[in-house]
């Protein structure tokens, strides 16, 4: 692969769309470029479950013809993208990362896929994930996804392939789904941008469910601009999702460059300065706060005393919902689940109702605490994970004590689940690297339906810091 080819692949969706529009690059050329990169790198990375070379090239040829005849072009016209294999694609196998759905071929596109197609995107393929988007998969049925920055490290989940494919430039941008961090965690571990929109901002229709009150499709891109661009395409009311919001969709791309002067940012003490937060992560996040200050934001440390409980509250609620979704298969096809998935769902099936009810009430308190603080602040700032990507081996093996459970499941989730419990928009954006060369993620959380401010602040930080320009080693 030439350096020029890699440079083009790493440009990101927004800039690729502009080049296509200006006839400086053809959709066929772009599609061939990404397919060649998938061939070259994905046998190791395992970000894709299904690649669609013939369909993608056919779509690219039609896109090219439209450019040449001067047709009206959608915002993603000619841009190759990929989606988590949790989203239905008409006529294309959609596995949800599970043997149980290995032969499932939907008849209809998910609403998000239909909107990306209508915007002119070229679907390259379906991306790997932890089984049923749950997390904790021990043996991935379609191959172990690996972090492009270090193949022995976890790429994050559940939208693992969505993070990897963007980080390694195996697509122009991707779509993931975030119930309790599943977009932000892989974005953070893989050093890309991942946005969880406000719950109900994006249609869930055609996405395999985990938790009805938290499931949120969201974009991953090389830059904040890419995430804004994709959100613009997928956001908005959908009659096929009875809970999708009718709140008007803002112009996220137009407001991106507004800067952060006067924006009030609360640095969340319980997450940023928690003893569990790795020192390198803490220092990078504090430095990011200083950068925002230099750009004109007003920062102060704040306390959200309930957020350390968020991980356990989330698991009591989301996993209970998941146990309901899987009620029948758990009783008839239990052996076909991955061991980690099965044990998590079995556990959730046994949570006492009184405890589940208590968690639901506590969620309301977490939400109230966050929203009250957001009356005084425009954004919260904290790490998107308590550490950089851990070794894959660290999350493998049988659990031999209940103390192991807390470390493996509750602690890390407390960084990403507060926004999920409160339904708030949140973004993960690269804010540095560890001495071992692994990306560190900054998280910004905003008010309900105020993705514009989240994106504006993330964009200002990203442009000032420049971390997004780094590429994983050996991926040219």
């Amino acid at each position: 692969m030439s350096d020029a080819g890699a440079d083009l692949a790493f440009l990101g969706a927004r800039r690729l769309a502009a080049l296509v529009r200006e006839r400086k690059v053809s959709p066929v050329e772009l599609t061939q470029l990404y397919l060649a990169r998938i061939d070259r790198h994905d046998t190791r990375l395992r970000s894709y479950i299904t690649v669609l070379p013939d369909a993608a090239l056919e779509t690219a040829r039609r896109a090219e013809a439209a450019v040449m005849r001067g047709a009206a072009l959608g915002p993603l016209h000619g841009v190759p993208y990929a989606v988590k294999d949790q989203f239905d694609t008409a006529g294309v196998r959609t596995t949800s990362g599970s043997r149980l759905m290995a032969e499932h071929v939907p008849a209809e596109d998910a609403t998000t896929i239909a909107r990306l197609t209508a915007a002119g995107g070229i679907l390259l393929g379906k991306l790997n994930l932890t089984e049923f988007a749950l997390g904790g998969t021990q043996q991935f049925p379609f191959g172990q996804p690996r972090n492009p920055w270090n193949l022995e490290h976890d790429p994050g989940g559940s939208s693992s392939g969505s993070g990897i494919a963007v980080a390694a430039a195996l697509c122009g941008a991707s779509l993931g789904e975030d119930t309790g961090g599943s977009v932000r965690s892989p974005a953070s571990f893989c050093g890309v941008v991942g946005l969880r929109p406000t719950w109900s901002r994006v249609s869930r229709h055609g996405s395999f469910p985990l938790s009805w009150s938290m499931d949120t499709p969201g974009p991953l891109g090389r830059t904040v601009e890419d995430a804004a661009w994709l959100l613009q395409v997928i956001a908005g009311y959908d009659p096929k999702d009875s809970l999708s919001s009718r709140e008007p969709v803002g112009d996220y791309t137009r407001t991106l460059t507004g800067g952060v002067r006067g924006i009030r940012v609360g640095i969340v003490r319980e997450l940023t300065f928690a003893p569990e937060t790795d020192v390198e992560v803490r220092d990078a996040v504090v430095e990011a706060a200083r950068t925002l200050e230099r750009l004109g934001a007003v920062t102060e440390e704040i306390s959200l005393r309930l957020v350390p409980l968020a991980g356990a509250i989330f698991m009591a609620l989301a996993d209970s919902d998941g146990a309901g979704v899987h009620y029948r298969w758990l009783r008839t096809r239990a052996a076909e689940y991955d061991q980690g998935t099965r044990r998590r769902l079995l556990t959730a099936s046994l949570i006492p109702a009184a405890i589940q009810q208590r968690a639901a009430r506590a969620r309301a308190l977490v939400r109230a605490e966050m929203r009250e603080a957001l009356a005084r602040h425009d954004l919260f700032l904290c790490p998107s994970a308590h550490q950089a990507a851990p070794p894959i081996a660290a999350s493998r093996g049988v659990i031999t004590s209940r103390h192991e459970v807390a470390g493996r499941f509750f602690t890390r989730r407390s960084y990403v689940t507060p926004a999920a419990l409160a339904g708030l928009p949140a973004i993960a954006v690269p804010c540095g690297f560890t001495r071992a060369g692994l990306p560190i993620g900054l998280q910004l959380i905003g008010r309900l339906f105020d993705e514009a401010t989240v994106l504006r602040a993330a964009y200002a930080y990203e442009r000032e810091s420049g971390w997004w320009t780094r590429r994983p080693p050996g991926m040219d």
Binding site: I313, A334, L346, T347, A360, F410
Partner: protein, 62 residues
């Protein structure tokens, strides 16, 4: 709340028609006890007057 034993968890799973292998049972017991322990601090919160709703229908931020 005292720890649940594997026997208790196994009996509960059987009553619910859940096929739990002996290996599964050990880990599920650890997981369930860990979750119950992690949620124990919630008992200290003033939850009686809190409605357990997920926040649907909230107005957008002004």
């Amino acid at each position: 709340m005292s720890d649940l034993t594997s026997e208790q968890v196994g009996a509960l799973a059987a009553a619910l028609g859940l096929p739990v292998t002996p290996d599964d049972l050990i880990e599920v017991t650890h997981r369930l006890n860990a979750l119950i322990e992690a949620l124990a601090p919630l008992a200290e919160l003033p939850l009686e007057t809190v409605e357990p709703v997920p926040g649907l229908g909230d107005p957008p931020a002004s």
